[in-house]
């Protein structure tokens, strides 16, 4: 994860690029695609809308771009109302999922399109097109037709085309989903550094939680048209608001515990907690579980014995499935070679995070 630092140049961005979505809802017929969404995106921020297909993330993006009208609610950008303007009057540009490059125009003409149709002085166009193509390292392909480019190259051209108008807000609709894994990693890095350099607000849609973690300043997790949680990747990972958020972002064990007199217990597991008595779900990340023989016992360490049911080698780590008195728990430990039979494991009491099925207060 690339940590955003508050003093990075990106954060010099003015309030121009701030986006505010107020109580937005969208219905298609009887289907409620978005239900009362409110969110605030700071100028220069990289915010990711993360969710499964059907969560409403693309609809939200399309409403901000102007391709759909909200049923209820408002969208504001930099202090003025956005949702009343047609898409061609919004200072917002989009990188489309399948790039949507104009097949009848060359790379150069594709990038120049936004400048031509908005009446930019003809003398300025070639320079700005060159700059934009240079920025995405596509200058040498200026004469080509999109059909003669690879997916990754088309992606770069789409990015240059969307940035040439100098938008205050850039919308990206799963722009990397059509690329293979390696190229995708590379483009993620380039996107992130481009965003920092330009200081433009990025609103990025994806269903890929790893991508969201790597790129975002904050992640807005959508579920069935509702905002499940909005927080930094670190916070959403360490403090998931709900069971859904915990399971969607990274892997986790959801443990159903009973709290009695300051101790939570589930089967053979038992640890101290300050929560009141009653039933409570906890999220315990696989990597917070360690082999007791390889860690020094710390205060708050919760030891337990379990037998290894399955071991999957994943490169830097081993994914274990543990049977702890009938309770199946997944653990991720550093690579160490074959491990079988019963062993002593432990986790820190603080790493078992209480979670609920629904958001607090709803």
């Amino acid at each position: 994860m690339i940590e955003p630092s508050p003093s990075s140049p990106a954060n010099h961005a003015t309030s121009e690029g701030t986006l505010e979505v107020r109580n937005l809802a969208k219905q298609f017929g009887r289907q409620h695609v978005l239900k009362d969404i409110s969110l605030h995106v700071a100028g220069g921020e990289f915010l990711t809308l993360l969710g499964e297909s059907g969560s409403g993330k693309t609809t939200l993006l399309r409403i901000i771009a102007g391709f759909e009208q909200p049923s209820i609610g408002e969208v504001w950008m930099g202090g003025s109302r956005l949702d009343l303007l047609p898409p061609y009057k919004r200072k917002v540009n989009t990188v489309f999922q399948n790039y949507a490059l104009f097949p009848h125009l060359s790379v150069e003409e594709n990038v120049a399109y936004g400048l031509r149709v908005t009446g930019t002085a003809a003398a300025d166009i070639p320079g700005r097109v060159q700059d934009a193509l240079g920025m995405v390292k596509m200058a040498e392909y200026a004469e080509r037709r999109p059909a003669k480019l690879s997916g990754g190259q088309q992606q770069r051209v789409a990015l240059a085309r969307a940035l040439v108008n100098r938008p205050q807000l850039l919308l990206l609709d799963e722009p990397l989903s059509a690329l293979d894994a390696n190229l995708r990693k590379q483009m993620q890095g380039e996107l992130k550094s481009l965003q920092r350099e330009l200081g433009i607000t990025f609103l990025f849609v994806t269903h890929d939680q790893d991508e969201a973690m790597v790129l975002s300043d904050r992640i807005a997790l959508l579920r069935n048209g509702e905002l499940e949680q909005i927080a930094s990747p670190r916070e959403i990972y360490e403090r998931p608001a709900t069971v859904y958020a915990a399971e969607f972002i990274g892997q986790t064990n959801v443990i159903k515990a009973e709290i009695h007199g300051g101790r939570a217990s589930c089967g053979a597991l038992s640890w101290a907690t300050e929560l009141p008595d009653g039933a409570q779900l906890f999220s315990l990340r696989p990597e917070s579980i360690r082999l007791a023989s390889e860690t020094r016992a710390k205060p708050g360490s919760v030891p337990f014995r379990a037998s290894v049911v399955q071991q999957v080698f994943t490169g830097a780590s081993e994914l274990l499935e543990l049977d702890c008195g009938g309770l199946l728990i997944r653990a991720r430990i550093p690579t160490r070679g074959r491990i079988t039979g019963e062993h002593e494991f432990s986790f820190l009491a603080g790493s078992a995070v209480p979670v609920n099925h629904t958001k607090a207060g709803s």
């Binding site: 989009t94 949507a100 097949p103």
Partner: protein, 281 residues
């Protein structure tokens, strides 16, 4: 792998068809155009008289140019009618699309002759249109130019060929990915600019195909002039028909046909080149 015998068996019927019904007739037509008729008898004497007659007699060229004018008018009018319809149906009609499509197609099921006679009934001096005009005292006498005029021919052919223009146009508009239109709006182009810079260029293959249909089919039409055209709108196909029929001058008729064929083939060649230039997949 298919055997040689199988390949031969499937390729012979189409080759035979093309040979017997296309190549041999074309060859015969070409031969006839270099022969002549003397004392009512066809003689196989090589000469270029027919072509000389064609280019020296002003009647033939005049009729040819009239045919081209009529065909061009029909093409233009069909495009003016067909394009907005195809555009509306493809981009705006939503759930009514299917129904509207059927409505456009239905006239194609009605015989050409029936539609010709229908226009006669509408345009004649005792026809629907003239009765209407007189009933409302817009005119006192029947308006003459409605029927038996080039106007009537253009009207009838436009009515017949507009669906032929519509179909390829509609198909090419339906093929335009909708996110291109969104991308254009997104980049700041108004719907009008988007039409001229994105939709129109991308519909060019359909437009060319439709225009070619309308132009070539109208150019070779001989029924519309007979049904609603009258003497002032004789077209080139009427002349050919006459030469092969009552005038019994096959060589001259063949010479005219060869010229029309050359015109048609070069036009097809040209539009195909253009269509290729305008397709980008």
């Amino acid at each position: 792998m298919h055997t040689r015998a199988y390949k031969l068996a499937v390729s012979i019927p189409p080759l035979l068809w093309v040979g017997v019904f296309l190549l041999i007739p074309y060859a015969l037509m070409l031969l006839h155009s270099f022969w002549l008729v003397r004392d009512g008898i066809l003689v196989h004497e090589w000469n270029l008289q027919n072509y000389a007659k064609l280019f020296s007699n002003r009647i033939y060229l005049e009729v040819l140019f009239r045919s081209i004018r009529i065909a061009a008018s029909v093409t233009l009018l069909s495009l003016i009618l067909g394009y907005p319809l195809a555009y509306y149906m493809s981009f705006q009609s939503g759930r009514r699309k299917e129904l509207m499509y059927q409505l456009v197609i239905i006239p194609l099921w009605v015989s050409y002759l029936v539609r010709g006679y229908a226009w006669k009934t509408i345009l004649g001096s005792e026809g629907v249109l003239n009765s209407f005009l007189q009933y409302f005292h817009i005119t006192t006498e029947p308006v003459g130019f409605l029927l038996y005029s080039p106007f009537a021919v253009v009207l009838m052919l436009t009515h017949i060929y507009t669906p032929f223009v519509f179909l390829p146009l509609y198909a090419s508009l339906e093929h335009i990915p909708r996110n291109l239109v969104e991308a254009s709006h997104d980049l700041g182009a108004s719907p009008r600019t988007t039409f001229f810079r994105v939709i129109l260029p991308l519909s060019m293959p359909g437009l060319l195909a439709g225009a070619t249909f309308a132009f070539l089919l109208s150019l070779g039409d001989f029924l519309a002039p007979i049904l609603v055209g009258g003497p002032s709108s004789v077209m080139i196909a009427n002349i050919v028909q006459n030469l092969f029929g009552s005038a019994y001058d096959w060589p001259l008729g063949a010479a005219i046909s060869v010229c029309i064929l050359l015109l048609t083939v070069s036009l097809l060649f040209l539009t195909e080149r253009l269509e290729k230039r305008w397709s980008f997949t």
